[in-house]
């Protein structure tokens, strides 16, 4: 009996160890993390550039959010503390200086998005985004933690290997592998897996949180979102007479979020869930007005798309571009002769 138990635990430990190594450390093509870099960079750029319209109004002298007020509020929330809300913006009040660091911040994120000196600009972009979030945590909604999470994990990966200026200029690029392709990287796998686990966890918790609220069980939640007259983008209240549709929509959101968190790991279910996420988040964006959040949630699905898909997409784009570009005369003759 004791022997059987020991054998079971031996097998369990071996299987867990092998599975763990395979999941986290199998080297992968860094194309997927490079695609995610462009997505995260664009989202971060949108987030920081959007502050250009009311930067001084929020953070300037006599702004809506003085640093002391933010620190006082954060000190009294569980798990929060002003000490860990580090932001370089906390030290700046002068409008001129605020604008200067704002423009520098935008430039850093733009370089990260374009993939120039990616190893450095990834870390700097994270510092910039976190500084804005920590300067105004009471303004942070659902969008900001997703963007910060993506950039944080991308800092660990060689996300400048593709679709980057680094690649064009040959900055920090390793020698090509034996087959002439890019070298696979276990750091890319670790970063990508962290993003996948985080996104799946986020979906699960979104679904579970809804199960803790009676309005999602009763099927009326989507109505209460539609009825927010100030924040909605499209007025769907004409659906008020279609009770079953409202109920079905509400239940579909909960079902989708719970399913996504679990079934996204299944290769067969993955394409369906990614397609469903486009529909679900687009509708949610129109109802709630949380457009950046919904778009970034659709975009996080890119983490579950294999590198081969992105390669075939890039190859097709390359062929199209080649077909559109005028051929030199000598080449044209060769093509005609062929």
């Amino acid at each position: 009996m004791g022997n059987a138990i020991q054998k079971y635990f031996d097998r369990l430990a071996t299987a867990f160890g092998q599975g763990w190594n395979r999941f986290w450390f199998t080297p992968s093509d860094p194309l997927t993390v490079s695609v995610l870099r462009v997505i995260a960079g664009a989202a971060a750029l949108f987030y920081v550039v959007a502050y250009s319209f009311d930067l001084i109004e929020w953070f300037g002298p006599n702004g809506w959010l003085p640093v002391e007020t933010v620190q006082q509020v954060m000190e009294t929330s569980p798990g929060e503390g002003a000490a860990y809300q580090w932001s370089y913006l906390n030290r700046i009040e002068s409008p001129g200086l605020l604008w200067t660091v704002h423009v520098i911040g935008i430039a850093v994120i733009a370089l990260f998005t374009l993939g120039l000196f990616t190893r450095v600009t990834a870390v700097l972009a994270l510092v910039v985004v976190l500084s804005y979030i920590h300067r105004a945590p009471v303004l942070a909604g659902q969008f900001e933690p997703v963007v910060a999470m993506l950039i944080f994990y991308l800092c660990l990966t060689p996300c400048g290997r593709y679709l980057s200026l680094d690649r064009r200029l040959g900055i920090g690029q390793p020698a090509p592998s034996d087959d002439g392709g890019q070298q696979r990287s276990w750091a890319a796998t670790v970063g990508l897996r962290l993003i996948q686990v985080h996104v799946a966890g986020l979906y699960l918790m979104m679904g579970l949180a809804k199960l803790g609220s009676t309005t999602w069980w009763e099927g009326g939640a989507i109505w209460w979102l539609m009825a927010q007259s100030q924040s909605r983008v499209v007025d769907f209240t004409s659906l008020r007479n279609f009770l079953y549709l409202i109920n079905a929509w509400t239940h579909a959101i909960v079902l989708f979020e719970l399913s996504y968190g679990i079934l996204i790991w299944n290769r067969l279910a993955r394409p369906l869930l990614l397609a469903a996420s486009v529909v679900m988040w687009t509708l949610t964006a129109l109802v709630t007005g949380l457009v950046p959040f919904c778009l970034v949630m659709i975009a996080t699905g890119a983490a579950f798309v294999p590198a081969e898909f992105w390669h075939s997409l890039l190859a097709r784009r390359g062929r199209e571009a080649e077909a559109e570009s005028p051929l030199p005369d000598a080449k044209k003759e060769a093509v005609t002769a062929a």
Partner: protein
Amino acid sequence: MTSPRDESPPEQEGYPGWTARTIVSLVLFIHLFCLFVALASNYYLSPLQIALVNAVGPYVQLVKLKPTAPYHLTDSTEMSDDHFIEVEVVAGPQQGEKVRFPESKVGASPVGRRAEFFARTIAATGYMGAEPNTAALAKAAGAHVLAEGDNEEVIVRIKRIQPQERVLDSTNPATPADPSAEPYISATYQARVWRDRMGQVQLLKIEETKVVAPLE
């Protein structure tokens, strides 16, 4: 028992060595634990979760792993409703003027979204009973309008826009068809904000007078 050293993967280009795998695995375990604590403590917290959240707080906060907003989008309570800030100037050059923040419909505008979120956060601190935080944020909002127009005194009101019920009773004047009509809007918090002789901004909450009919 098999050690991780025995489970070396097949020799493959780019695979990390045993030492690197061990160190990275340890860091991953710690990170995943912090992530689990952060994601699992979004809304309702047990005493154990509060203790864990406080323990992993420095790391989780620094890299913003813990979302501040609840995940459920709505729970059909006042906390999920649209809010705005109204600042009425009662003394100063702009006397009689009312500043509304956000100015009008928010939609997808990030500027309006931030303003709406600010108003909602102030209201939420009040609903959760964190009165000092409500006062601090309302004071900051009042101080902004005092300074902008060189005003002397303002009244800050946090207003809630109550959503319409799905089934509207057209005969009831309390439920008009226009969702932005006055019956749907109520002040959840209001306070006088003024600058004292020392130049310091002061705040005094305006308590609602509740009249109760005497029992016969």
